[in-house]
Subunit: 600 residues, 2 copies
């Protein structure tokens, strides 16, 4: 994928190119533009990607790219995105601003007071928009689950109903039943609401994040905008190195999609990597820190219980979840039950105050084909089912994470069991990878498993990039991972018979059949690469309107013959059979030509 | 994938680098070498890829790369490969050499006698090894199916039994039952025999071939050796431009794997692309020409019958198979039943004389999600079932081709119906692609479908490259296509519980768990790219022995914690539970460290 990058404009996201515009500059018709579907109120406008076809029709596609692809909106990473949801949140009157927890040097992994002084405030962290954190007023239940249970349809619910092309009431019901989550922290008003549940389009998450080894704040913000541009529905910031707090603030203030984190990673940084020094207090403080910043969902490995740790001892690859192994190390060191499990109810109270959604982590997921569906994995899953029920008591929206490495014949058991044990809470899986033998291609080994498990009911897929097991993904890897997972998700939407899903395939296949090359490119999941690949073999401009392609060449083309057949045999079955001998003569009279002159 | 190429040595295949050697040159231990498993006779030596691990163990993998990866064999494309099977064929005494059909200028698409003279013979076409074609003596049945039916275990059957790690009798039985084919034209003695059937490892085919638009003889030969190097089990030469005959001869003489063709493509060239001018005589002559050269299996679109053509009229994408549309055009032009269907028995006699295997083409396969599993497709499938039974009467080995574009929920019906209608004859599918919306990524859209349909019983998968629908694959595309399909095939082998399949995954996962980076690379489906990706983030040589990777960095590593757990908790369940509190104290006494110094 390296070639493509040379053509992609610079990486700073306020210089992000608008795809429609770049086509315009080339003197061609604009292939698509950002449009909005209006809801019941003027401040409820749902973005879509409107693809304009050369036959005068247009196709509307789901759009995750945020204001960055709207040429009428002037974005600036230093200022952040406009707080779309702010008025909705304020109007509900059930939250209040407060001073908040002061940001501390160690939040950014700085141990000793730097020359520039000790405490910092959020203004310094993110200069763009001074803000105070917000949380529920005493006794108020401010989660989308609470509203749904009270029968309220929030603007957020209406927004996703328009996006998903269903009624707002369906959205409310799915959230009420716990079958869907709408992650939307009251401190992240910038997001364009989206929903995760098996009744809706399958979603894709992209992970970003620096580590001790590599990467910078700017890179992480840019990875987020890059991932959402290609279709990521949510982004997880898994940073573990320096500047975790500041990086997250910049990512949140600029993100049009919900942001997820694993608070345990930052908590571990605060104790300098010594798992046994972790405490409930340090963890809780980190969760509050992140909730105040606006993190929309948090992975919590509360299912890694003390008695399960020995179940992993004879595994081929032990514990491969970083969060899982941290908690296992803590349990081992103290020979105590997990502080996350023990304090889960208090954690629920905190998350409820900000409407942070749980993503109950699968810390004991299998890391190899050999370990799939074993006792450790399913013991943890049963605990996640128990925790899911507790979270619901506190009105906390909850989804459940799933594996991992699983051979194809063991995939269905995972989703079936999860749905049963966890009362149909949304399943959120990493792949699964269907074989261990292809490092450097694990987007593909896992894309196979992801498509299957999504077909069977998984609501969101966590992408895997080609660098999995080998290194940290760069820009190209992020794009490849997102595109691969959008394929898996859409293949699942088709297989589930999601209303409207096939319209996209049909539009593209019509364009293909009718040799509308530009339409085929513009409808593609990745128009740039499709166009580039076509041009490699047939670069000339006339080839874009030619009624053939390089596979068969101009001499003979199966699509052209099919068009002849349709022309001659279109109509009802009876008409077709009756008229066939007749038409055959006409075909002969017309010269029987299957040639296609280039200019035809 | 472009980066990799810069590191790959030059493309002429007699300069093909030996992977083991290149590691040796770098001063490291050889990662793998070509080994042979001896059969019951000295001239029966089955090649394997022996991977040597740093822990002293070794892993044996199936090897398709031919003599090119054996440093002891001096290969030369101008001379061709040694005729491995020649003595076996001669010893059977049931075939004879004969003068053969003279090669004609039009075989290479040359219409008018060139200045250099009219007729040519095979010596001129391929200078390496003068040869006469061979066919069955009168009345002799010389196909592997005929031998299997007589209870004979041929050296070819023993060879594949060793490759597949099953008994020769199992191989014979599967061939006898028509559930497997062993494509091995008596005129292609150079091949290393392989078998295609659901009882065996899932196989992968790679298509090569020039077209009127692009490509040369050398490129095609090199694509063949390149594809087999990465694991292609067979190669189809789908050339349609100039020099079809000569290109095929060079490919055959240098190919260690069975070669398939679509004779209809060349026949159409001989009538200058006018489908209606095709005749049974021209087609038959082309089949004999190719059979004499040694083509091992041929796609024959005899199931595209006149009454089925109108069934495609109201499809979204009509007929997308090139062969299917040629036959449809012929039927339309003449308003007659297909000459392939009408002359099928005579065709069987020809194929039987050379032991050419049928690949009964699915000329009416769906070309879009909308057209999947429709009446046209299944009407043709029923005819293929009928033709399969006729072929068996003539002792011709037969496999059945399948789609195409099929959404996930409609895939299983394809394999189930094919197995029922075609008496369990091997199914050989193109993908299927599970969505139409991702041109430039159709290796992935189809890899998903391929893995699933192979799990459910498809015996061979025809690869799809990233260029599908857009252009002709280059070297990188061929590699990406083959690797993607090897992943799909191996994922299916795992899901089918093929004996020994998981040993490969286990060996790689063990290496991963124990931070044996070099072993992980050498066991990978693509060692070069795995190593390259690792080095992008952590290039230094010590990082290859480091007990961490760039994902978590040196500070905290889940694999390391798991190793601690195993060290402390290995043993029976009872021992584990009993000893746990005890061990916890030791862990604490040892410092509770989850740090990992770089040099550890």
């Amino acid at each position: 994928m390296t070639n493509k990058d040379a053509r992609t404009p610079a990486s700073s996201q306020d210089e992000q190119p608008i795809q429609g515009e770049s086509s315009q500059e080339a003197g061609k018709s604009i292939g698509w533009h950002k449009a909005y579907v209006e809801g019941s109120r003027p401040d409820l406008r749902v973005p879509v990607r409107q693809v304009h076809l050369t036959n005068g029709q247009s196709v509307t596609l789901y759009d995750t790219s945020g204001p960055y692809t709207d040429p009428l909106i002037d974005t600036d990473v230093r200022r952040g995105l406009a707080p779309l949801r702010e008025n909705w949140i304020i109007a509900r009157g059930d939250t209040e601003e407060y001073a908040g927890r002061p940001a501390r040097p160690e939040d950014d992994g700085i141990k000793h007071t730097s020359p520039r002084g000790g405490l910092r405030n959020l203004d310094a962290v993110f200069p763009g928009r001074p803000r105070q954190p917000r949380r529920s007023r005493d006794g108020k239940a401010v989660t989308q689950l609470a509203y749904a249970r009270r029968g309220e349809i929030t603007p957020e619910m209406e927004y996703v109903a328009i996006r998903e092309n269903v009624s707002p009431e369906v959205v409310r019901q799915e959230i009420e039943a716990g079958r869907a989550v709408l992650p939307a922290n009251v401190n992240h008003p910038e997001i364009e609401p989206m929903i995760i549940g098996k009744r809706f389009l399958v979603k894709v998450n992209a992970n970003i994040g620096n580590s001790a080894v590599t990467s910078s704040i700017e890179e992480e913000v840019e990875k987020m905008t890059w991932a959402t541009r290609w279709g990521a529905d949510t982004v997880m910031d898994l940073s573990t190195g320096r500047n975790i707090h500041t990086t997250r603030e910049w990512v949140l203030r600029n993100s049009p999609v919900p942001i997820g984190t694993v608070p345990l990673y930052q908590a571990l940084e605060k104790v300098d990597g010594r798992a046994e020094e972790l405490t409930w207090e340090i963890y809780k403080d980190t969760v509050i820190e992140q909730a105040e910043q606006g993190v929309d969902y948090m992975t919590v490995h509360a299912g890694v219980r003390l008695p399960y740790v020995p179940l992993t001892a004879n595994r081929k690859t032990g514990i491969v979840s970083r969060g899982g192994s941290i908690m296992a190390a803590w349990c081992l060191a103290h020979h105590k039950e997990s502080f996350l499990y023990e304090n889960f109810e208090e954690l629920c109270e905190i998350l409820a105050a900000y409407d942070v959604t749980y993503s109950l982590g699968d810390g004991l997921r299998p890391g190899s084909i050999a370990d799939a569906n074993d006792e450790a994995q399913f013991a943890e899953l049963r605990t996640l089912g128990e925790l899911n029920r507790i979270a619901k008591r506190f009105n906390v929206q909850t989804m459940i994470e799933g594996p991992g490495h699983v051979p194809m014949h063991k995939i269905k058991e995972n989703i079936d069991l999860q749905q049963e044990i966890c009362d149909e809470a949304p399943f959120y899986t990493l792949g699964p990878l269907t074989t261990d033998v292809a490092p450097a291609y694990d987007h593909i080994t896992s894309g196979i498993g992801a498509a299957m498990i999504a077909w069977w009911g998984t609501a969101m897929l966590c992408y895997v990039t080609p660098k999995e097991h080998l290194g940290l993904p760069n820009r190209d890897d992020v794009k490849t991972g997102v595109i691969t997972y959008k394929i898996a998700a859409h293949a699942a939407d088709l297989a589930k018979g999601h209303p409207g899903a096939q319209e996209w395939d049909d539009a593209l296949s019509d364009a293909r059949f009718e040799f509308r090359w530009e339409d085929q490119f513009n409808l593609a999941l990745d128009p740039d690469t499709a166009r580039e690949f076509h041009d490699e073999t047939l670069p000339a401009e006339p080839a874009k309107t030619a009624h053939f392609c390089s596979m068969c060449g101009p001499k003979f083309c199966s699509m052209k013959i099919s068009q002849d057949i349709r022309r001659e045999h279109g109509g009802s079955r009876a008409e077709i059979e009756q008229g066939m001998a007749e038409k055959s003569k006409e075909f002969a009279a017309a010269g029987n030509r299957v040639y296609l002159p280039i200019a035809d």
